[in-house]
Structures are given as structure tokens and as C-alpha cells.
Subunit: 96 residues, 2 copies
DNA sequence: CACTCTGTCACGCGATGCGTTACATTTGGG
DNA sequence: CCCAAATGTAACGCATCGCGTGACAGAGTG
């Protein structure tokens, strides 16, 4: 994405007001996209912060489910009334 | 939600295999919904972990944008080619 | 009164994002 | 070819935060 903007990693880090290493760690995948970083990226390239965070969120969730696979099996599953479930999902859709 | 399941905070914490304080902190809003916690909640009540995390995500993003409002103003905004933006948004929609 | 549940506080541990410094490698221009 | 900028990688310290644990006080109930 950065080459598309004609920016180097060093220049982009300066414009984002962060350390060059910090941006590099994000690009290398050795650090997560924090909300602060997402806000900065959104400001820089016009892509919504929600998009960047959803990427990170899916990644974190995938790892969490993997790490807790055995623990999750021992959590009993309860059934929620359909009325409440539909209300919750409706609330969720409203925030999008 | 918990009363709807007929669970107390203490019982729910036991079933989730976490400390009672930890669950209480989440309910009180003094701690964030981590991916691990979201996976546990999803297992317990059948509501997707993505939903819980989206709630937390919106909260974190709101705070980040507030805290960095002055800093974000100093970040120059660049224009991304429309072809790339549509590609990215298409990729994003595919993951939902 | 005794018991349980709950809310709240403080402490320590581990993980993580970030800045800083430092060093090696690669790339492009004189 | 040589030098400078950019890049990749590593290590250190700091601050923050989620989590477990222990402890204490208040509310509700048998």
C-alpha cells in the first residue's frame, strides 16, 4: 500500500509521528495493529480504522480459539432465548 | 444476559474457568473484552465472539480517536487510487 | 446469626506496544 | 567503486493492561 502512495517506510513513519521501528513491526506482523495505529493509518490513507482493526481482530480471535481449544471444550454451552438473540443481533447491525 | 441464563456472576466465572474478579471487571467496564474472553463468552451463550469483540473494538477506537485528535490533525491525508480502495473493501466484505 | 453473592481495593506476574540505540544488509546515485 | 539512504533485525527499558489472588465491606436470605 505504501509504494502506491509513493511513500517509503521511513517517510510514512515520520508522517504518522511514530518510530520507524514501530511501523516496521506492524508491517512485519511482529506487532498488532492497535486502535491508535489504526486511527493513524486511517488518517494517512483514507481507509477506515475499522477495517484495519477488523483484520487484527480476526487474527487475534483465530489465535485465541486455537490456544484455548481444550479449555473451551470444558465450558458448558447454554441456550439463550431467541427473543434476546434477535435483539442483540439487531443492535449489532445498527452499529455497522 | 446472565440472569437470562439463570446464572450468577460466581457461577458463570466458574463455568468460564476464570476468576470471579475477572468476569466482574468485564461487566463493570473496568477491563476490556479480550479475544480469549470473547471466545469463552461465545462458547457459553452462543453469541459469536466477533460480536463481543466488535463492541470492544468500537469502544477502543472511540477512545483512541479522542486521545489522538490533536496528533491526527498533523498527519497528512493521502489519496489512494480507487482501484486499490475497491479491492480492499471487496476483500474486507469477503471476510464477513 | 450464619451463609452466599456481590462490589471494590491492592498486590504481583506476565505479556505487549512503543521508543531508543545499535548493527548488518541492501539499494541507488555520483 | 564508494557513499548515503533505506531497510531488516535485535536488545534494552518503560508504561500499560489483563489476570489471578487475597482481603474486606455491604446486601440479601434461610
Amino acid at each position: 500500500m505504501l509504494p502506491e502512495l509513493g511513500l517509503t517506510v521511513t517517510q510514512a513513519a515520520q508522517e504518522l509521528a511514530i518510530a520507524r521501528q514501530t511501523l516496521h513491526r506492524v508491517l512485519a506482523g511482529t506487532a498488532a495493529v492497535t486502535p491508535e495505529m489504526a486511527a493513524r493509518l486511517a488518517r494517512l490513507c483514507g481507509i477506515s480504522a475499522h477495517f484495519w482493526l477488523d483484520l487484527q481482530l480476526a487474527h487475534d480471535l483465530w489465535h485465541a480459539q486455537r490456544a484455548l481449544a481444550d479449555t473451551l471444550d470444558r465450558i458448558p454451552a447454554h441456550a439463550l432465548p431467541d427473543t434476546l438473540k434477535t435483539d442483540i443481533l439487531a443492535c449489532h447491525a445498527r452499529t455497522l
